[in-house]
Amino acid sequence: MRAILNVWGCAGMRKTQNLSTPTRPYFHTPILSLLFLIVVTLFFVPVQAEAEIDSIRSITDTRLQMPTWDQLIRVLTLRDYNTRVVVLGTLFLGSASGVIGTFMFLRKRALVGDAASHAALPGIGLAFIVMASVGGDGKYLPGLLLGAFISGLIGMGFILLIRHFTRLKEDAALGIVLSVFFGLGISILGVIQKMNIGHAAGLESFIYGKTASMLAQDAYLMGGAALVVTLLCGLLFKEFSLLCFDQDFACSQGWPVLFLDTLIMALVVAVTVMGLQAVGLILMVALLIIPPAAARFWTHHLYKMIFISAAIGSASGLLGAALSALVPRLPAGAIIVLITSSIFLMSLVFGPARGVLSRSIEQWTLNRKVASQHLLRAMYEWAEIHKNTQKSDDPLKGMTIRDLFGVRSWSHKQLKRILLRAQRQGMIYRGGDRTYHFTENGEWQSKRVVRNHRLWELYLVTHADIAPSHVDRDADQIEHVLERSMVDKLEKLLLSEHPNIGVIPPSPHDIGSKGLKQRSRK
């Protein structure tokens, strides 16, 4: 076998070296030889690029031919019939793999797709041998794909058998099938090279994928199969989602779990096989796993997740195929994977359902809410103490920043910020002598906060048997996340037990200035 990995790149290199060697003896001084090296290097690039135009590219050869402006326009506007069909075919492929991938992902069998694609390789080789030896065109695509499909299915069958008859776990079964079939496939491709039948070059493009070599009819085949897979998933949406969520329950209702499982696997194999030409078998798994994983960040609903996953898959397919048509030296599989993973990263950050950003915003909003509730409670409790000790007529008389420092452990900057925000929100206002006072709204809010806090403290003391001296901090953590319904339940429960606690229950622990200071030191 000529090469799977790197030989063609080297072959091209050898050619250029042959061109350059005769000039060497004329230069002897180091400076001249240095100059010579520079000149040769300048020559080297165009010469080698030319030399390689008809040779087949290699994966490790990374020099790119940038597309001309004209090419760019042609591809982006889908002006060529062939490009148009190939790009659309890949789009359908991406959407189908996004859909079936979602079920795979939720069934926690994401890597089955990887095993399926690797298991397809021997089928390609064997199909080629059969077709070439009966005198047909060895590279007749539907034949090759049929071979790949059958061999992929056999691989899946082996996974099921290994799982069923040995006590090996699924991951081991996957690993065995993946490596054994891939090794077998590579050997068969090697044998084909030796056999000298047909025109075998190009079979390797199934490993890395090559949209550039696709014809319109190949794309029709791919798009058609993708449509069938998507339709089947639509028809069996209910069955597949039940199986993925609760296999035992599905089984108890009489759904043929094994059949459904096998069907999902067969659809995965079908999508994988269709993607072999465009994406290649090594990276096909990315198109099955990454779109659903990214979609999960956008929604908590299965319907939407499938649509989003399909959209991500088709966007990746579309862009990947288009880019690969522009820069033919880049393997399509690699581009598609890079695009899917950029979408994944974006989803990870910006996804509204569980993205990093939306979570941080939630956390940030909560922190702000907590801070302002702390302020309100601190001011209320301070006023409460001073009502008791100083017998002042105004229970909510103004409070200075210094007073506030005695109540909680906040930094100067922090406190200023919180005070400013509370002023903006119309909770407090600044009176003379640099004192802060509640507005009407602020007073009402503060009473609500204190009431929730005290109710919760009371509940912890009377129902959870937590010592009164400890409940303050516990309640502090809970009170800000209390939902309306929980407060209602709490009130109902406590009011039935303590009918005369009033609007603001008394604190179960000492909130005198000492107690407050102690707390601030914590």
């Binding site: 209910k238 969520f245 609760d246 035992d248 209702q253 009489g254 759904w255 299965l302």
Partner: protein, 261 residues
């Protein structure tokens, strides 16, 4: 049906569940020996026994979720395969991934899937039925919540609602009260008693011995085999409990290991 004819003459053909000489093995190792039992109709039946006694295994084997090494089960005199519509099942809460992207209402609707049939879509009417079931377990407010945002007790109620929506005659429930708060447990038991009073048969795996005599009117005491089965008043005795919980039968256990070898 062959199986129904083959059920021994000592078994009533009208019992909701009748288990005939059932032995269940995991990887050839028997975990449940010779279970022979007729469930009476319209009773709330508790299945109790220590950890590893085979309580869940018994339910799963009856429902064909795991293969039986030997024995037969009939539901109202016919094999389970032909009577699925009459049976509802509540698996243990831990067996599913609660991070699954569905709402509480979607999960409950799954209870109707068996009746809806292949490839047909879920309709408004099915959702309404599911909603009614959610209301019955006091979870109507949470219908549109993603299931991971529910507490353990709420998740359990969603599972119960899913079984209710199956509109079955027989309910199998695997530890519905494990890991739930007292209020939920009470709500669950009230619901089960409602089911019983409308002449449904309910079999419940239960782990809390303190509440057994309050909740159930019929008991199966299980420890690798049926130690005793009968009305709670008759079988919930110190002696039976000692036999059930007094440790595994060492020789039986060793025999099972030997078979598995």
């Amino acid at each position: 049906m062959k199986a129904s004819q083959a059920i021994g003459s000592e078994h009533s053909s009208t019992a909701p569940v009748s288990i005939h000489d059932m032995t269940v093995a995991y990887h050839r190792k028997p975990v449940l020996w010779d279970v022979d039992f007729d469930a009476p109709e319209g009773k709330l039946i508790g299945i109790i026994g220590p950890n590893g006694a085979g309580k869940s295994t018994m339910i799963k084997a009856v429902l064909d979720l795991i293969p039986k090494a030997s024995g037969r089960v009939s539901i109202y005199g016919k094999p389970y395969k032909r009577q699925r519509r009459l049976v509802a099942y509540v698996p243990q809460r831990e067996t599913v991934d609660w991070d699954f992207p569905v709402h509480a209402l979607d999960v409950v609707t799954m209870g109707r899937y068996g009746q809806i049939g292949w490839c047909k879509p879920v309709t408004r009417a099915h959702k309404d039925q599911a909603m009614a079931a959610l209301e019955r377990v006091g979870m109507a407010d949470y219908a549109r919540r993603q299931i991971s945002q529910l507490s353990g007790g709420q998740q359990q109620r969603v599972f119960l609602a899913r079984a209710l929506v199956q509109e079955a005659q027989i309910y199998f429930m695997d530890e519905p009260s494990s890991g739930v708060d007292a209020a939920t447990e009470k709500a669950i038991i009230t619901l089960l008693q409602d089911l019983r009073s409308s002449n449904k048969t309910v079999l419940v795996v239960h782990h809390d011995l303190q509440t057994v005599s309050d909740y159930f009117d019929y008991l199966i005491l299980l420890n690798m085999r049926i130690v005793a089965a009968g009305s709670t008043r008759d079988v919930f005795t110190k002696e039976n409990l000692h036999k059930t919980y007094g440790g595994r039968l060492t020789l039986l256990d060793e025999a099972a290991q030997a078979i598995a070898r």
